[in-house]
Symmetry: C2
Amino acid sequence: MSVKVVVGKDILAVNRKRAEDLRARFKQMGIKVVNILSSPGAGKTSVLEATIPKLQKVRAAVIEGDVATTRDAERLSHLGIPLVQITTLGACHLDASMVWKALEEMDLSRVDLLFIENVGNLICPASFDLGENLRVVVLSVAEGTDKPAKYPAAFLSSQVVLINKTDLLPYTDFDLKRVLGEVRAMKPDMRTFTISCRTGEGIDKWVEWLEEWVREAQ
Amino acid sequence: MSVKVVVGKDILAVNRKRAEDLRARFKQMGIKVVNILSSPGAGKTSVLEATIPKLQKVRAAVIEGDVATTRDAERLSHLGIPLVQITTLGACHLDASMVWKALEEMDLSRVDLLFIENVGNLICPASFDLGENLRVVVLSVAEGTDKPAKYPAAFLSSQVVLINKTDLLPYTDFDLKRVLGEVRAMKPDMRTFTISCRTGEGIDKWVEWLEEWVREAQ
């Protein structure tokens, strides 16, 4: 059986308008924005920990989104970059208004690239534009091969898939070839990177592509 | 910064009423109901695959919830039990009305225990009572030690935590002792089981407890 879903169209329309305002503001500031989505524990914060110290050509800042606790922001505090934690107190996604408010607490005058780490949720954040220029979805190999097909909105709305925790590949039945095939069948121009934040595998290639993207997008 | 959340109180109140109707209906039918929550890929379906064939004293049925695809129901179809798939077409959780409708498609006359596998999401399903008697949250060791603190509603509203994929413990930095300590600090009477659906470790103990619970709860 399938269930008809009542979508909060007003909420989404209000968010879309606010996201366009954000996008215009970021453009004026010369800042590129990356919105990072994933399930809980797929490694969004680890991706930032592995990526940011390797950036040589662009200066980064981070907005951290979490339902509760400031643990992710604490993990990144040693990086010495502009960093704000949004605690949603239960809400299942970030929206454009939350990001707008977070900007009041950040000095982005010397920043080229703003990462927004969304709440750990592979469903709801997909519906909320945050004014980003690039959406990245992180998939852990421990989550299983079927995730792109089962959570299509997150993947279809992203331009990049980071397949993380490849160090666990020998110990799982994750079928990397099949996932890559399914992702490309869903969206032929999807960029995919296989990485391990634990071992560093694949990080250089992703960082190189990201820096290039920031410069090209300007 | 913290963000004030506007909760859809009307939606939750309507759901609560419908859930109480469901609970009364299940009681009249002599059926115990378990609502299973987790992140995408923590192993809810694998728990059912490992658990149901081992049940000797109770007869099971399953309602499968997914955003898209019927893959989970297909995985369970060989079990030869009453089974209905709810595809939410994008919605981030099951609600009591969806379960009520699913019951129309099931013959539960020879069933003692109904499992409801919720949508893979550690946030939204926590707010929606499905008329269950027991809520179980599955946590994969690949997700990391910080999940109970970061997703408190799912854990605080559950009575059982299944820590799954213990076969991956040697390859992750998951701190089992710390997680068990944090969970018990959050909720002293929480039942916890460490299991691996892949190797079968811990499954017998969990199944034994579950069968005992079904009989005691009657």
